[in-house]
């Protein structure tokens, strides 16, 4: 249906692979290669022992020149592993890499039909017939080049943001930090000591801050926030508002490091801010050494691992231990009792820290989720699991270990970046295991507690991880974007009525209406899934390399029309 198809004659070359005995052992590849010869538009066939080997590839290149082939089909293993290899090979032979089709006659044929060699042979022949039919309809595609602006924006000036920014700026990329507050440091500014090595928080974060201050090509913009983001990977235009005046930054990648917030403890165990405080309110007291209490009781999982916040905030146990040890250090006679459900001190140094606290005389009492400690004016009643009886512990200072929660303004930032949030409001990464610091949308990365409450070490490593992921694209002037994307071709423009069903169905917001009100696909964002073409009400959109014609030709080849 497309106009551009060049009129010269289609000549398909089919290369049947033995893959040693994996294929050749089950079906007769030589006979297959000969039989395939008389399929329509097939100009040359050949079988070889290992098509993916050096001489296999050389054979293909030779055949392409000699027989003036303009389509190549390789029947062997799975395209998932070998398609890039063969695309590379035929492009070296001067053919557009997309004029190649892969037929899987090993993993999905000979290996799985060993006991039925004749049917396997028929199946292989059918698959090659389908592959050749599709090859005839293939059209040359060029990879879409997107030029990258080698600059990065880091949102959030906490320790995660600073680490990422330092790493990127040292690699020579122009980097901006946008921080909501009037100074860098984030949560660390309010802490006294840092576990497990009891380093002074202010001193630690101070070092990082002045690294940031005298780093080249790193600009810090405080008390400012992001109000609009346009564009796509490599070409973002970010508008920020620094108390009143609007600035426009042009960057190639964005790192989200906005961290998390403290839970508002109102209503938890009778919190009053004087006698019953949180760990974070305890820190400054320890810093200035004004602690008069004699009996200190700490309650773990205060407000977390319940229905409202069904997650563990991972840092509260270590914070409690740190503060407990600091108290003991100030005055060993102060009794400290920690009521806990489970103590999370993973790793070697954390477990050691826990043993150290026990040695200093900190008492640990386990309570059960169903029977929460009952806090009265100056004593706590708690059912001790180990002795199976209720204990009464007097206190003159109650410290609650409250969890970290997602920032309330995550939703607005997510909207701007068009990225999803998970159930508790933290940012949702592309894949929990394989792409922990990427977003599904290319060009946007994440690190630190913005994704999930983590301790300082984890935060810093995630900062660096996000920076390195960003540098994978910033390091190129241009990057190749998936070539087989969807497109509204010129010859179909009259079919499109502008109903916008495609815009609404695209998971990547990769389709928009340009200024003269026509549908346009943002090639850089399109992943080529084909949802829009399958949904288009008037069949105007076309998915390149998987067009309706190509798939239908495969069906006809098999159906026997």
């Amino acid at each position: 249906m497309s106009e551009e198809r060049n009129e010269e004659e289609i000549r398909v070359g089919v290369f049947v692979c033995h893959c040693g005995s994996n294929i050749g052992g089950v079906i007769d590849c030589k006979k297959l290669a000969e039989e395939v010869r008389n399929f329509p538009d097939v100009a040359y066939t050949e079988d070889n022992l290992y098509t993916c080997s050096e001489n296999g590839l050389a054979a293909i290149k030779k055949a392409v020149e000699e027989h003036k082939l303009n389509r190549v089909v390789v029947a062997s293993c799975t395209p998932r592993t070998h398609e890039p290899l063969f695309r590379e090979c035929i492009s070296e032979a001067g053919l557009n890499p997309y004029l190649f089709n892969f037929v899987n006659i090993r993993d999905q044929c000979t290996w799985v039909h060993m006991k039925h060699p004749e049917e396997a042979y028929d199946k292989a022949k059918d698959l090659i017939k389908m592959g050749a039919a599709k090859a005839v309809k293939l059209e040359p595609l060029d990879m879409i080049m997107v030029n990258i602006n080698p600059a990065a924006l880091v949102i959030g000036g906490g320790v995660a943001g600073m680490s990422a920014a330092l790493s990127l700026s040292r690699q020579g990329f122009k980097t901006y930090i946008v921080e909501k507050e009037d100074k860098l440091g984030g949560r660390l500014n309010s802490l006294h000591k840092l576990f497990p090595y009891d380093i002074e928080a202010t001193e630690f974060v101070g070092k990082i801050i002045n690294n940031v201050k005298n780093a080249q090509n790193l600009e810090v913009i405080t008390s400012s926030r992001v109000i609009n983001i346009e564009g796509f990977i490599g070409n973002y235009e970010v508008e920020i508002d620094q108390n009143g005046n609007i600035r426009k930054l042009e960057v190639g990648a964005i790192i989200v490091a906005v961290g998390s917030s403290l839970l508002n403890p109102q209503g938890l165990f009778g919190y009053d801010g004087i006698k019953r405080i949180t760990q974070y309110e305890l820190e400054p007291k320890l810093k200035n050494k004004d602690l008069k209490a004699k009996e200190v009781v700490m309650i773990q999982c205060a407000g977390s691992r319940n229905d409202e916040r069904p997650y563990c905030s991972s840092v509260c146990c270590m914070t409690a231990l740190k503060n407990a040890l600091t108290i003991k250090e100030l005055n060993p006679d102060i009794h400290v009792t920690i009521l806990f459900r489970d103590l999370y001190t993973p790793g070697t140094s954390y477990e050691e820290y826990y043993r150290k606290a026990r040695e200093q005389g900190v008492l640990f009492v386990k309570y059960d989720e169903d029977r929460m400690p009952n806090v009265e004016e100056n004593q706590v009643k708690v059912f001790n699991e180990y002795i199976g009886d209720e204990m009464i512990i007097a206190y003159d200072l109650l410290v609650l270990s409250t969890p970290l929660v997602a920032n309330s303004d995550n939703k607005d930032l997510a909207q701007l970046l068009k990225v999803p949030l998970e159930a508790n409001g933290f940012f949702l990464e592309a894949h929990v295991k394989l792409r922990p610091n990427d977003f599904a949308t290319d060009g946007v990365y994440i690190g630190g507690s913005a994704k999930w409450p983590v301790d300082i070490t984890e935060t810093i490593s995630q900062g660096y991880a996000a920076a390195s992921r960003a540098s994978t694209i910033l390091s190129h002037e241009t990057i190749e974007v998936e070539g087989a994307t969807s497109i509204l071709p010129e010859y179909n423009k009259s079919l499109c009525t502008g109903c916008e069903v495609c815009i609404k169905v695209c998971p990547y917001n990769a389709i928009k209406k340009n200024e003269n009100d026509e549908i346009e696909i943002i090639q850089a964002l399109c992943k080529g899934c084909g949802l829009c073409a399958a949904t288009c009400t008037n069949k105007a959109l076309v998915i390149r390399h998987f067009t309706d014609d190509q798939i239908l030709s495969e069906i006809y080849a098999y159906g026997g029309e």
Binding site: V112, K123, L552
Partner: protein, 260 residues
């Protein structure tokens, strides 16, 4: 040749659409683990199960293929986030259309993840057995059932009419998220509308095909398509208002319609 074979030795011709990231990978894993399953199914690789256009499924059945299997990632796993959600909606609509001609049990939709090599073998085997039990498709072989072929052709055209594609294209967002008024349309309410549209478009495209052969009256159409003539009249006049059909002449007291 196929017709005389008795039920046991009949080898169904099956077509599979496998999504590149999960089910195709599952199939490869079955290969790598040398899991054996019957060789009846030929596979077409697509990037996502959401890409499978209902027209492909019906075109395959029309060519006499005995069964079509569409496979995608498990819900929530889709590489493209919600491709398989759309696949469900398209598959349900296709199944409802095919239920008019009793071919709905020859298509199947399933989820196979990249790590389920064993399961891939099992589901394919099960599919081959089920189709074997059904016997060859009435449209397969050299003498396909002509009347049924006409109906399946009509279904293929109805399925790609812009009305059906608009409804199925917007169904998920409107019933699961929200429509333009910010309201969620209840699933059953949308189904009633969808079923009505499916029945209407099916009848209308059968009428269009019948008229394409030659001009006929409403009564002849009623007999040929065994539909109540009053419904045929309603549809024919709707098609006329969309200038797809027009009056040709009047014989006695009966107007004859023709395709434009």
């Amino acid at each position: 040749m196929r017709m005389e074979e008795n039920r046991v030795s009949f080898e169904p011709k099956l077509l599979g659409f496998l999504c590149n990231w999960c089910s195709y990978a599952g199939a490869d894993l079955a290969g790598v683990s040398r899991i054996q399953y019957p060789p009846n199914m030929r596979v077409i690789r697509v990037m996502c199960s959401g890409r499978v256009d209902p027209e492909f499924v019906i075109q395959a059945l029309e060519l006499g293929i005995d069964g079509v299997y569409v496979m995608g990632c498990h819900i929530g796993d889709c590489h493209y986030l919600d491709g398989n959600y759309e696949a469900i909606r398209k598959f349900d609509m296709t199944k409802k259309f095919l239920s008019f001609v009793g071919l709905d049990n020859r298509i199947r939709l399933d989820w196979v993840s990249a790590s389920e090599g064993v399961r891939f073998g099992e589901v394919v085997s099960k599919f081959v057995e089920d189709i074997k039990a059904l016997g060859p498709s009435p449209l397969s072989g050299d003498t396909p059932d002509q009347e049924l072929l006409e109906k399946v052709k009509a279904i293929r055209e109805a399925v790609s009419s812009n009305r059906m594609r608009a409804l199925v294209g917007r169904q998920r967002k409107i019933t699961e998220e929200e429509n333009v008024y910010g309201e969620k349309v209840p699933e059953e309410e949308f189904d009633v509308l969808m079923d009505q549209a499916i029945k209407e478009e099916y009848d209308r495209h059968r009428i269009l095909l019948a008229l394409e052969k030659d001009s006929k009256s409403v009564k002849d159409l009623g007999i040929e398509l065994n539909l109540d003539p009053s419904i045929v009249l309603e549809h024919t006049l709707t098609l006329k208002s969309r200038s797809q059909v027009d009056f040709q002449k009047i014989i006695g007291n009966t107007p004859i319609f023709m395709r434009i």
